[in-house]
């Protein structure tokens, strides 16, 4: 019983493929469409925005259930049907938040720069201190616990002023640094720890971090307000640099916050 719809044409749907959406999620600016073209399409297409959100949630679910490659008993529960369903092979295109998850580099990772993708203006590394005082790098898409203390290291790939804004699982934006109300200058390719640390509160779920690299030394509150406004305007989608109306580049990072063990 094979029933494949064979009359598809390239121009039929016009939506982004999962490949294009995966390339957005992995911060890969390659393929037949530029990142800008993909973003432009997303801004106008609810289906693609929804699909991107679905892919992002599935990724978070998988990494929460399987944070490492080592086999573990029992797989993550499948929440959604696969798209290759006997016969109909339908389009389920498209997608939401452009939380471009970018793997963090870690101090024990001398080759980490090998996997940094071209074009990211600023990278974020996150270090988590648990209740026992143990400090571990938190990788993008990883899991942190309420009560963990986080510190952040930023690496700029062009000169500018940097700051970090978080959007928690409830959609609330807040500054994660620097303290003092204004962005801090970053030299090129010189990793810098943000001053102070953040203790994670009890708001669970996916938390997104936006690392800003701006031409001017803006106030951190201005970044928070810009992110808040962008999140409110397009709730399911993570804001892009263009959405914020600031002369800043963005690096992004996300993790899932779960209850304290």
């Amino acid at each position: 019983m094979i029933a494949i719809k064979l009359d598809r044409s390239d121009a039929e749907d016009g939506c982004l493929s999962d490949l294009a959406l995966d390339q957005l999620l992995t911060s890969e600016n390659s393929g037949s469409l530029t990142e800008q073209a993909r973003r432009t399409h997303l801004a106008q297409c609810a289906a693609c925005t929804a699909r991107l959100g679905e892919l992002e949630r599935d990724a978070a679910d998988l990494l929460a259930a399987r944070p490492h490659l080592a086999p573990s008993p029992g797989g993550p529960r499948a929440r959604r049907a696969p798209r290759f369903i006997a016969g109909t092979l339908t389009l389920a295109a498209a997608a939401a938040a452009i939380a471009l998850y970018r793997p963090a580099t870690t101090p024990s990772e001398p080759a980490a720069s090998d996997v940094r993708l071209k074009g990211s203006p600023i990278d974020v590394e996150v270090f988590a201190r648990d209740a026992n005082g143990r400090v571990t790098p938190l990788l993008a898409g990883g899991v942190a616990h309420a009560g963990d203390g986080l510190r952040f290291r930023l690496t700029a790939h062009r000169p500018g002023y940097a700051g970090l804004v978080s959007v928690d699982g409830a959609g609330r934006a807040m500054s994660y640094g620097p303290q003092g109300g204004r962005l801090v200058p970053l030299a090129v390719a010189a990793p810098a720890l943000l001053d102070g640390s953040v203790v994670l509160d009890g708001v669970l779920g996916r938390e997104r971090l936006f690392a800003f690299l701006c031409r001017d030394r803006l106030e951190t509150d201005r970044l928070v307000r810009a992110v808040e406004a962008a999140v409110e305007a397009r709730p399911p989608r993570s804001p892009s640099a263009a959405d914020l109306g600031l002369d800043c580049a963005l690096g992004t990072f996300w993790f899932t916050k779960v209850p304290a063990p």
Binding site: I2, L19, L69, A81, P82, D114
Partner: protein, 170 residues
């Protein structure tokens, strides 16, 4: 396997593991089988480290090796089943993904049994993944013209497979 525990492989897993898992689950219809594929794919990534770094698009590279690895698994399973004269094949290992599972495997096994794999690969990208022909060309590493030719041939062969079904149900 030592290299699997290396931080850079874990880093890549966090970035690309979900898409490999999703793709394998789509093609194999089972979470557990998909997780096995993830493990195997990242073993290959670890072994091909230099080549992987030089890929212009790691995503397309992973799409391709995941797809072909799943095709191999499906054909192997189908052949084993044929040897055991058991049709349809038994349930996949582990719980089936909703809406897929055995039905997906049967369809895929039947197509792979009757149509050359290079045509099936392009067809999956086109009809299932909804890629355009430029994206397929980039993923497969061939020209757009070749993609078009393979799609035409796949369609012709698939229609030949479909016709007896249509006649039987008429």
């Amino acid at each position: 396997m030592r290299e699997m525990g290396e931080p850079w492989v874990e880093t890549l897993y966090r970035r690309y593991g979900p898409l490999v898992f999703r793709r394998a689950r789509m093609l194999l219809g089972s979470d557990e089988a998909a997780w096995d594929v993830v493990q195997e794919v990242f073993v290959r990534v670890a072994r091909a480290r230099d080549g992987f770094r030089n890929e212009a698009s790691p995503t397309t590279w992973l799409y391709r090796i995941t797809t072909n690895y799943c095709f191999n698994l499906t054909r192997d399973r189908s052949r084993r089943q044929a040897r055991l004269a058991e049709r349809p094949p038994g349930p996949p290992a582990g719980p089936a993904a909703p809406g897929g599972g055995q039905e997906t495997q049967l369809l895929l096994a039947e197509i792979l049994d009757k149509i050359p794999v290079e045509l099936c690969e392009v067809a999956v990208y086109y009809y299932v993944d909804r890629m355009n022909q430029d994206e397929i060309a980039a993923t497969v590493g061939t020209s757009r013209k070749t993609v078009g030719n393979r799609l035409r041939e796949f369609r012709a062969r698939a229609q030949a497979l479909l016709e007896p079904e249509s006649e039987a149900s008429a």
